[in-house]
């Protein structure tokens, strides 16, 4: 893989980029020798000669890509095509809130104080892939919700890859700041429209101030030649509530590094996921919750259904610092293997230094319940549909907390499609 030399030395974050480049040069791509990458190999991706900066600007018509949007409702849209902002597909705003572009936030003087305070502040300086993004990212979403504000509608961040470049590596960078008592809903999607190889190495930083509420939905249903490394870092202050839902239904290789840092008290952090895979798809969920202050909660609930030759990983790390007393940390990872060739590696990783905490974790790997299957069949529901109903029921409680009904319907339809059934009603 080659990285073209295209560096603007006058850029306000030039120093950060230089440092990040040094870190990446030092560490390189992670290998299976590292514990955190034991089950996910990037070898095959590194053999591809990805182009980092597209040579031409590509366009798409809305009608051709409408189905990738939650078009049943009105949303703000920040859309990129091959990493470049698409103004005709987007709908941004500066009306009481800033829902716009990273490139403008990085260059306009009015945003400099924000960039100085937040940019690259919660993202890891140590992680090589995050550094790679810091060094090369040029574009992404910038969202700033001012105190006591709530945007009129959810925000969709969509990255399309068109395949006009033979192979493409995208490095989107999102910065989201939600001030005190403010609220935000985001739906993020990466969609390749080509059979050419696409690798996305995304970094998102989210800052939730006191009493802020953030719902973030990641829809991962990409084509079999698209891979995603998603690095999301969330910094929470007192009494903020942040929920991240990750729906992983496709893509060649997907790695989710989801990191929560609780820098305050009475914080609520929720991570939920539904993973339904087939073919040779691979999804690796690595979560981290760092309980830094007392009286906080975290909830993790990941359900996985693995078929054919698919592979899954769940690694949930919970750190409870010595002063973080009265922490409640819950973690649940349940999996169903519907093929003999599918595999799942699941591991809780608890590092608890406080003594007055409630921590529970549970991992299960099983098959579908035969008695339940018989029950449905005895009501006249064919085996295939009965299996699908049971799988749907298994994943259901993850969907219960989705707060955008149209998104929920969409996810239900994706699940039904993924399970290959039409159950005759919207689940």
């Amino acid at each position: 893989m080659m990285f073209e030399n295209n560096v603007d030395i006058d850029h306000p974050v030039h120093d950060l980029r230089t440092e990040a480049m040094k870190n990446f040069e030092l560490k390189g791509f992670p290998t299976k020798k590292e514990e955190a990458w034991k089950y996910t190999s990037l070898n095959s991706l590194q053999k591809v000669d990805f182009s980092i900066f597209p040579k031409q600007e590509n366009t798409l018509e809305y009608r051709d890509v409408k189905k990738y949007f939650i078009h049943e409702i009105d949303t703000y849209k920040i859309v990129f095509i091959d990493g470049i902002y698409s103004s005709n597909l987007s709908e941004t705003t500066h009306d009481g809130v800033d829902i716009c572009l990273m490139s403008s936030a990085l260059t306009k003087p009015m945003y400099k104080p924000v960039i100085d305070v937040y940019f690259n502040k919660t993202a890891s300086k140590d992680d090589s892939l995050t550094s790679l993004n810091t060094a090369f990212s040029r574009e992404g979403a910038f969202i700033y919700i001012y105190k006591n504000k709530m945007p009129k509608k959810p925000v969709e961040i969509i990255h399309f890859a068109t395949g006009n470049e033979s192979t493409l590596m995208l490095q989107p960078r999102n910065l989201i700041v939600v001030e005190e008592n403010a609220e935000l809903q985001v739906i993020e999607r990466h969609q390749s429209l080509t059979s050419n190889e696409v690798l996305t190495n995304s970094v998102t930083e989210i800052f939730a101030a006191k009493n802020a509420i953030v719902d973030y939905y990641k829809v991962q249903n990409n084509v079999g030649t698209a891979s995603l490394i998603d690095n999301t870092y969330i910094d929470q202050k007192d009494k903020s509530v942040v929920k991240v839902h990750t729906f992983s239904f496709g893509g060649k290789l997907t790695r989710n590094n989801l990191n929560f840092y609780q820098n305050g008290e009475y914080i609520d952090s929720t991570m939920k996921g539904v993973t339904i895979l087939g073919e040779k798809q691979h999804v690796d969920h690595h979560t981290l919750v760092h309980h830094i202050e007392p009286n906080c909660e975290s909830h993790q609930d990941y359900k996985g259904i693995y078929g054919e030759n698919s592979t899954g990983v769940f690694n949930g790390k919970i750190i409870v610092d010595k002063i973080a007393q009265k922490t409640n940390a819950f973690q649940q990872n349940n999996n169903i293997l519907i093929s003999d060739k599918a595999t799942i590696n699941t591991k809780p990783q608890l590092e608890i230094f406080a003594d007055d905490v409630k921590c529970s974790h549970g991992c299960t790997i099983g098959q579908l319940d035969e008695e339940a299957l018989f029950y449905l069949q005895s009501r006249g529901i064919p085996k295939k549909e009965a299996r699908a109903l049971l799988m749907y029921a298994f994943a259901n409680n993850v969907l219960a907390s989705v707060r955008i009904p149209e998104l929920k319907t969409r996810i239900n339809k994706l699940i039904a499609k993924k399970l290959g059934v039409n159950l005759g009603f919207d689940l």
Binding site: Y375, Q377, G380, I381, K383, A393, N397, G424
Partner: protein, 250 residues
């Protein structure tokens, strides 16, 4: 309607049913009683086609047609219904949606189009009234968090919706208080006709005071050891199953 001939069945080489013979005609109510472990629930599951059980000898016929190699869903489409002793919870799927799916799958198997929405709603209303089921109940997830009584009432509601030819009620009375028992039995009695038949499987005589059987069979060690009229149930209640066991040893 149902003809069971010399039925031997078991699981993994362990024979549980040792030669059952039973004929149920349209319009009849049969009760199958017996001590725990006598094979009552196995018989119900085998009739409904549970794949875990292997039929090693004999046959089950419905309207003259051998049911061997017929899947549970096909048996349901032919009109067999089994009310479960322990109904399964299906979170996220409402009672109404579940019934829609079940009814339309049966219709599809018979070459019919989906039932029109207004007809479906009417049917749901009628049948839920029959079983004194609250409308709110129907939008709850199937069996999730239902009390024992609600689960059983819901089983009979499903039976009412599917209008089976042959209904097998497996221990429907267990976990029911007297009021729920009366409602459930009343529902079953109203659904009875000269064209359908019911097999009531029970440990106790209690339910048979409400659903009065034409025939009572006593199952022991996988065999019907005694058959008689409804008075046999009373005799069993009085003398207990040891009476039957002793008679056999003698």
């Amino acid at each position: 309607m149902l003809k069971i001939m010399n039925l031997h069945a078991g699981v993994e080489g362990n024979e549980i049913l040792n030669g059952i013979n039973l004929e149920v005609k349209a319009g009849e109510v049969h009760a199958i009683m017996g001590p725990n472990g006598s094979g009552k629930s196995t018989l119900a599951s085998v009739i409904a086609g549970k794949e875990e059980f292997e039929v090693t000898e004999g046959a089950i016929e419905l309207d003259g047609e051998d049911l061997d190699d017929t899947s549970p869903e096909e048996r349901a489409h032919k009109g067999i219904f089994l009310s479960f002793q322990y109904p399964v919870e299906i979170p996220g799927v409402s009672v109404t949606n579940f019934m829609k799916t079940a009814i339309n799958e049966s219709r599809k198997a018979r070459g019919l189009d989906d039932m029109p929405a207004n007809q479906m709603l009417k049917l749901i209303r009628e049948k839920s009234e029959l079983l004194e089921i609250d409308r709110k109940f129907l939008s709850r997830s199937l069996n999730e968090g239902f009390s024992g009584g609600e689960k059983k009432r819901n089983e009979i509601f499903q039976m009412a919706m599917l209008e089976p030819k042959l209904a097998i009620l497996d221990e429907t009375d267990s976990g029911l208080d007297i009021d729920a028992l009366r409602i459930v039995a009343n529902g079953v009695n109203k659904l009875k006709s000269k064209d359908n038949a019911v097999i009531v499987i029970t440990h106790y005589q209690r339910l048979l005071e409400y659903i009065v059987p034409d025939f009572v069979h006593v199952l022991h060690d996988g065999k019907i050891v005694k058959s008689g009229g409804k008075e046999l149930a009373l005799e069993l209640e009085e003398k207990g199953y040891d009476w039957i066991k002793q008679k056999i040893t003698v």
